[in-house]
Structures are given as structure tokens and as C-alpha cells.
Amino acid sequence: MTSADTAVARPDEAGPPPAGPPAADPGAGDGRGGQAGALTRILRRPALGALLGAVAVFVLFTITDSTPQHLWLTQTGFQAWAQQAAFFGIMAVPVGLLMIGGEFDLSTGGMTGFCAIIMALLVGNEHWNAWAAVAVTFAFGAVVGAVNGIVVTRSGLPSFIVTLATYFVFRGLSVGGVLKVNHGSTSIGLTGTDHPGLKSAKDVFGGSFAHSSGLPVGYQTGILWFAGVTVVAVWVLARTRFGNWVFAVGGDADAARKVGVPVRRTKILLFMTTSTAAALVGVISFLQTNTAVSEQGVGYEFYYIIAAVVGGCLLTGGHGSALGAALGACIIGMALQGVIYSGWDSSWDFTFLGAILFLAVAVNTLTYQRAMRARR
């Protein structure tokens, strides 16, 4: 007897509605006026927590810096943490985009190492032109991402599981495969420097710039790549249709599909972006160091995720910031270098990062809830 159920269960519809004239009614008729406060606007910015955190961490290490020359505030100090931040940030930014799109990629850390190994094998062992090797590595990255994305969107399996599988496959390949081709050694290095195209490829990916008397070694080009990736990601997210779709597929994929957003294509492209970025990191790291080691990058996927989460990307998708993820990577870079400059045992890195992660998530969640609740 359904009519009884509905009659009893819906008392709030019993009253007749105010049948007022269909005139314009400010505030959609519920009498709540006023502009959203400036505070609400600021709190709604997902990168806010990361910005405050970065400033706090910078100030902290300015105080605790125990090097005789106070390196933290010199170009040397900046270069040291910026380089680390760049390595994490080139990945953290696309990982953040993917997270906003509602998916995870656990294969990223292992992929950076595996891509470095591909470079090393092609240039070091096979004596390819370095640029051809770069092209193949990028293509490989894109294909792995496409496979991840297609499997996730077609199977409906959680991306956590699918990319965990990818991660283990490549981890095995990067150890077993390398041992096999490389006659029992897990490290592949360049034997000479006269490989074709190597010099120019090194200039682009593994070189340095802005040499000065204060910093004779200069800054690594990886830092420029990090800046570039961040700027493009921020622009894409805020100012393109694709960016709008990224928020939508992570926020509510069903609703997005209903209004015509290509949900699968968007997600596949995001997976391709993270794995192509992993190829970029692999290329940079090989061209900077001339070596690639098995299992290089393994475990880094967590640093990327930490950076993205610290940067305000919601684990459940639909909310976040590329700039925030970049700032998160800066926090990690500063933490790793600052612990050394402070003369602390570097084992404390992990504890420090864990504490930052916890703090950042707590702050982000509180501010986010406050912003979302602003009008309730």
C-alpha cells in the first residue's frame, strides 16, 4: 500500500506553496543575501593550504639551518631544493590532475625509472641517436597511459588496482629485464659521450643554466620543465574545456556523461598525461646522470600523491589545483634538503613528510568544509 507510505513519509509537502507572482526574487527567494565574503573566496582556493605550508616550511628551515655559511638562504640552497622539487613536481602536477579527475596512478614512480632504463638501453647499449631514444621513450609513456586508461574506463575496475598491476609488471621488467640484457648488472651507464644527438638532448633535458659566481653549477633545466608543466597545467585546468571536463569527471562522472562530456576520453587522456610525464622525468634523470638503475623511482608514487594532496587535490576527485600540487612538490623538496641543512638525521625525512601530509590534509579539509558550508 504505497499511498500510505508516501502520505505518511512526506509531511513537508503537505502545505500549499506560496503562490506568489513570478517576479524576480533576489536570493532565489530564501532571503539570504550578501556577497560571498572575501574570506570564503580565499578559503575556496584549494592551493591556499599548500601556499601557507610552503611559507611555513621555508621559514622553519631558515631558522633551523645549521650550515656554517647559512646555505638555506643562498642560491646554493635554493638550487638544491628546487632541483628535488622539480623531480617530484613534474610528476605531482599531472598526478594532481588525474586525482581531480577521480583516478589514481600508482605506476608513476616505477614508470619514471623504467623510462630512464629505456633511454639507457637505447642510447648506451644500442647506440641510438639520443633524440630518437627520447621520442621512443615518450611514445612508450603515452602508450602505457593509454592502456592504463582504457583498462580502467572499460573494465570499471578501480584505477588503484589496475595501476598497481602495471606498477608491478614494470618493476619486475626493470629488474629482471635489465639483468638479462645487461649481463647481470642492474645499473646501465653511458660508456662514451660521443653518442649522436646526445649533446643537444642533454642541453634540453639534462643541462643547466644561469651560471654565476654565487652558483657555478647553475640551475638544472629540469627546474624549467617543472615550471613549464605547472604553467600549462594551471592554464588547461582553469581556461580550457578539457579542464572543465577534468573537474566534472572527477566530481560526478554520471552527471558529466549526461550533459555530453566524453568521460572516457577525458580520463584516458589524463592517464596518458601522467605516464608521459613519467617518461619526461625518466629522460631528464638519465640525461642528467648518464646512468639508470633498476628500481629507480620505486616508491616515489607516494611522494607525488603526497604533493598533490598537500596541494589541495581531493582524494575522491572533483576538487584541487595544479598550482597546489606544484607547491606540494616544493614543500617536499624543501623538506628533504632542509633536514640535511639542519643537521638532522635524514631518516627523519619520512616522519617530517608524514606530519606535513597530516597537517595539510587537516587544514585543507577544514577550510574546504568551511567554504562549502558557507551558505548553509
Binding site: 509531511p11 502545505g15 527567494g29 562530456v261
Partner: protein
């Protein structure tokens, strides 16, 4: 959309054909008859209310009108010409927009991002082709204003809007994208009294703009103030189709709740001990009680009232 009929377009001025018409439509799921022989019409600037209890066939009817289902019997006509919709997209391109209960909006996204989601305006060329953010904001504001909605901050996430405002934005979106017929699927069912009022104003606004509106509800008190025609369904069949001057609010209430059935039920409920708790609680919902029709007051329970209260004082 495929036109299966060469019905001539209406002569201007003459009795115009309905914007959207269903003629004896029916739908079967296996051997279960969900809907049979139901007809209704929607004219420009009119609100046709479809009323019925749960399981009366309202959802099936809507899904036929909005292109989700194709009818197994009868036909659907747009501007007098028979059409066959194969998807909601077909219906949409014929100017028939449906606002389903889930609204198809992403709660975490700003209003203006939601408004144009999937149909984002762009500017620029080649790799510089980009989301025209300024135009999107401006047109969202205009689209909302045109429906009498004044939201202070289009950057606000949709999830922070009240239920009525959210429905209003969804309706404004459908109107902005050129709907001629607006199908609203139970837009007031999850809302408190005030919020329902907000949505009903939107319905009236759409009517004033000359749209045809199909308003699905099981609440005659929501239907009566805005409706021009009332189509009542019962167990998949048409119970009746009345113009506003042919039927009073009380008749509609009785029809809806099944008249004699309801009397028997209220009789039965009075005899169940401990049911006094279900009597309306004036402290919780004075507004509802004061305005409730007598026949409904018996059944008004405070079960949901505490939930409704915070929505109203927000």
C-alpha cells in the same frame, strides 16, 4: 529525430497544435504493462501537471516524452507532427529539455562551470582554443537573471546551493539552451515548503516566457497553483485530464490520494495504538500544519520535519 508523418505545420493564428503531445502512448516491460493509453498535450505558455502516486506510470511517461524510451503503442507529436525519439539528445534537438531529479550537475563545481558543462563556449584558434570563461560567467548570470534568479556569486559551488536553488539553476540552464518544452521530473519532491516555493516560481517564470511545461509531481498542493491542466495517472492508466477551471484543489487532492481508500486508511490508522506520535507536531512544523489541507493533516508525520527545518532557516 525522425518525422514519420507529413502532418502540416499549424496555420498561424488558428488553433495551434500542441508543442508536445502524447496520444494513447503505452509501454510494456515483458508482460508488465507500465503505461497504457495515456494522452496529454502541452501548449506554449501552459503548465501541464502530471499527477499520480508511486507506480502510477509517471516516470515511464516522462521517459517516453524525453526520448529515453520509445512507446510500444500510441505516438508522440511535436508541433503536430509524429516523431520518434531514439535518445534524449533527439528530444533535446526538438527543443524538449528534461530536468531529471538528479539534475546532472556536479556539486563541487562552480555554478558557471556547471551551467556550460559539455557545451562550453570557446574562443581562440588551434592550440589556443580555450574556454571563454568571461562569456560563460556573463551568460550564466544573464541566464539566471532571465529566470528571476539573482545569485550573488556564480563562483559558488553548486553543492552549496539550497535544493530549490539547485533546481532553479538546472531549469535556467535548460531554458538558456533553447528549450521550448521543459519537462520537470518531481522537482519539488525532496524539498521543504519554502524551497518548493522557490521552484514553483521558476515554473511560473518558464510559463511566462512562453515555454510549455510538463510538471510531474505527486503533490497536488504543488501542482494546483501553477498548473493549467491536470493529468492524473493511476496504475499506468489515465484517470482523467482536466483544465484548471474544471477541477478544484480538494477534488485533486482526493483523486490523488485515492479518495475512499484514504478514508479507510485514516480510519484504520486511528485504531493503531501509539500512533499519536505521528500526529503533526506544532513545535516542529507550524507552517506546514497551518497551511495543510485538512485531509492531509491526518497523515502529516513529523518524521521528516526536523530535517526540513534547517533548510528553511539557513
Amino acid at each position: 529525430m525522425t518525422t514519420t508523418d507529413d502532418a502540416p505545420m499549424a496555420a498561424p493564428g488558428a488553433a495551434a497544435p500542441a508543442l508536445l503531445e502524447a496520444d494513447g502512448v503505452g509501454k510494456y516491460f515483458g508482460s508488465v504493462r507500465a503505461l497504457s493509453g495515456v494522452s496529454l498535450s502541452v501548449h506554449p505558455g501552459q503548465v501541464t501537471c502530471v499527477l499520480g502516486d508511486n507506480g502510477a506510470g509517471k516516470s515511464t511517461l516522462i521517459k517516453i516524452l524525453s526520448g529515453v524510451f520509445t512507446p510500444d503503442e500510441g505516438e508522440v507529436r511535436v508541433d503536430g507532427a509524429a516523431v520518434k525519439f531514439h535518445s534524449p539528445r533527439d528530444a533535446l534537438s526538438a527543443g524538449i529539455a528534461t530536468v531529471f531529479q538528479d539534475l546532472a550537475m556536479v556539486p563541487l563545481m562552480a555554478i558557471w562551470r556547471n551551467f556550460f558543462l559539455g557545451s562550453e563556449p570557446t574562443k581562440g584558434w588551434g592550440p589556443w582554443r580555450r574556454f571563454d570563461v568571461e562569456a560563460a560567467r556573463r551568460r550564466t548570470r544573464e541566464g539566471l537573471a532571465a529566470m528571476g534568479i539573482d545569485l550573488r556569486d556564480p563562483d559558488q559551488p553548486v553543492g552549496t546551493l539550497s535544493g530549490g536553488e539547485r533546481q532553479s539553476v538546472a531549469i535556467a540552464r535548460a531554458v538558456h539552451f533553447g528549450a521550448r518544452v521543459l519537462i520537470l521530473d518531481e522537482p519539488t519532491s525532496a524539498l521543504g515548503v519554502k524551497q518548493a516555493g522557490v521552484v514553483l516560481r521558476r515554473v511560473a517564470q518558464a510559463r511566462e516566457r512562453g515555454l510549455g511545461v510538463v510538471f510531474i509531481t505527486h503533490n497536488p498542493h504543488h501542482a494546483y497553483p501553477v498548473g493549467d491542466r491536470f493529468v492524473v495517472l493511476n496504475r499506468g492508466r489515465l484517470l482523467g485530464d482536466w483544465a484548471k477551471d474544471e477541477i478544484g484543489r480538494e477534488d485533486l487532492v482526493r483523486l490523488m490520494s485515492g479518495g475512499a481508500e484514504l478514508d479507510a486508511l485514516s480510519h484504520e490508522l486511528e485504531r493503531i495504538p501509539g500512533l499519536e506520535e505521528l500526529a503533526p507536531d506544532p513545535a516542529v512544523a507550524p507552517e506546514e500544519q497551518a497551511t495543510a489541507a485538512p485531509s492531509e493533516a491526518v497523515h502529516a508525520a513529523p518524521a521528516e520535519a526536523p530535517r526540513a527545518a534547517p533548510e528553511e532557516d539557513g
